[in-house]
Symmetry: C2
Subunit: 257 residues, 2 copies
């Protein structure tokens, strides 16, 4: 199979050209190209130089984008052999290791997505949340409660906590945006990475009501601590997912890559 | 903080020397070093060249190990700035994106781990499992049922399905080993990566019995399809985890890395 893929990789590549030398665009293009290659049975990617020419972006940008796609488990890079598509990873719509907004994930899963802010107010932090945010219990935080819908049906319930002292004078009246990530970004608090605890739980009462499910319906609970580049926690987000709508996968790699 | 870390990175590094130019050893050493650095508040890693000298392995090996640790979310590499430890990721014991045997994960979680084979026999594959394995429904497969224990208590239930035609003449009497990964390896079927669907479920009857939990106790269900380097599926493993014992986290990255 490797031989066949090598032969195929020599075929001309037409991927269009990226206007700006934008990393994010390059990565999106690469991801699209990978899906297309995968569907066509071409599992060995062209070289960095070829991709650089085909996409009209620098090799450094291509290299970063490839590293990121490798991190997500979409591709693997074998020393001296090249870069290969993880074929069975191509079809995954919701990859737990990729941080995508829920509206995007629901769209990828084939739904018409919606996002609504249910509530936004300043609260005092409980002990656990305060500990994750490295502030004192009882400190003020902006709490944003959101609901994400799939074809108008409630699918994901999310609650963010952002320490008020990070948000300036009037935290309650900030624009909540469509995701924690975008909200933090708009407040100048860019998230660098998040650590998410993944648990199967029976939904607590407010989630039962918001998602319109039975108390006996197990849901996936993702409790994120969002971290800035300076390693300071910027927000905690507790998400409950009705996996009738959104089913996560994760790619676990074994061989040395 | 970056300035402080930079200054600290200039301190002498004593990590010991790796005997063989072994990638796996280098990665284990690096992971240990990262934990140690993190505990000491040193969040910027030395350069590839310095690590290469300190660990006595080639720069290519260091580079591969760093890529792998980046893929797991343990570190981040910022263009032109260096390699940084994701501090909040250091303490994670069970990372969903890392493929570690359950005995190792239970040990890391502080338990005395155990593994028992409950049953091993040849079965006919159902439609779903056969589809994942890209063979016909009804084809023969070796089914291995295993229980992993934490301090003698049942914690994880696992069932592997490996197509019999991959296993030679006498599949029923193969040594099941302690993990699917090792079993496949011993049968010459090295797993390259796995795609795992992550679901919150109420435990099915055999899992209720094996894990000694109530029917209303939600468990994490991980359904793995294990893939070889030639992209052929080699096994399906369905795992049910009692997360009172083993709680998974995943690191989700946002900023372009």
């Amino acid at each position: 199979m490797i031989t066949r893929n090598r032969a195929r990789a020599a075929e001309p590549i037409v991927l269009g050209s990226v206007a700006a030398d934008s990393y994010r665009q390059a990565k999106d293009r690469l991801r699209d190209a990978i899906t297309k290659f995968g569907q066509e049975g071409r599992f060995r990617l062209p070289s960095e130089a070829e991709l650089s020419t085909a996409l009209g972006v620098s090799r450094a940008t291509i290299r970063s984008a490839l590293q990121s796609l490798q991190k997500e488990g979409r591709i693997r890079r074998l020393h001296g052999q090249g870069t290969f598509i993880n074929r069975h990873a191509v079809g995954i719509t919701a990859n737990l290791a990729e941080a995508s907004p829920f509206v995007d994930l629901l769209k990828q899963a084939g739904y018409s997505p919606g996002a609504r802010t249910l509530d936004q107010r300043v609260v005092k932090l409980d002990e656990d949340t305060a500990a994750s945010l490295e502030v004192a219990a009882g400190d003020a935080a902006l709490r944003i409660e959101r609901l994400f819908e799939a074809d108008g049906e409630p699918a994901v319930h999310s609650v963010d906590y952002v320490p008020a002292n990070l948000l300036g004078d009037d935290p309650e009246h900030l624009d909540p945006r469509r995701s924690t990530f975008e909200f933090a970004d708009s407040a100048g608090l860019s998230v660098c990475y998040s650590v998410a605890e993944v648990r199967p739980v029976l939904p607590p009462r407010p989630v039962v009501a918001a998602l319109g499910i039975k108390r006996s319906h197990p849901v996936l609970r993702l409790r994120h601590t969002h971290i800035r580049a300076n390693e300071l926690p910027v927000a905690v987000t507790v998400v409950h997912v009705n996996d009738d709508y959104l089913r996560f996968s994760v790619i676990r790699t074994y061989l040395d890559q």
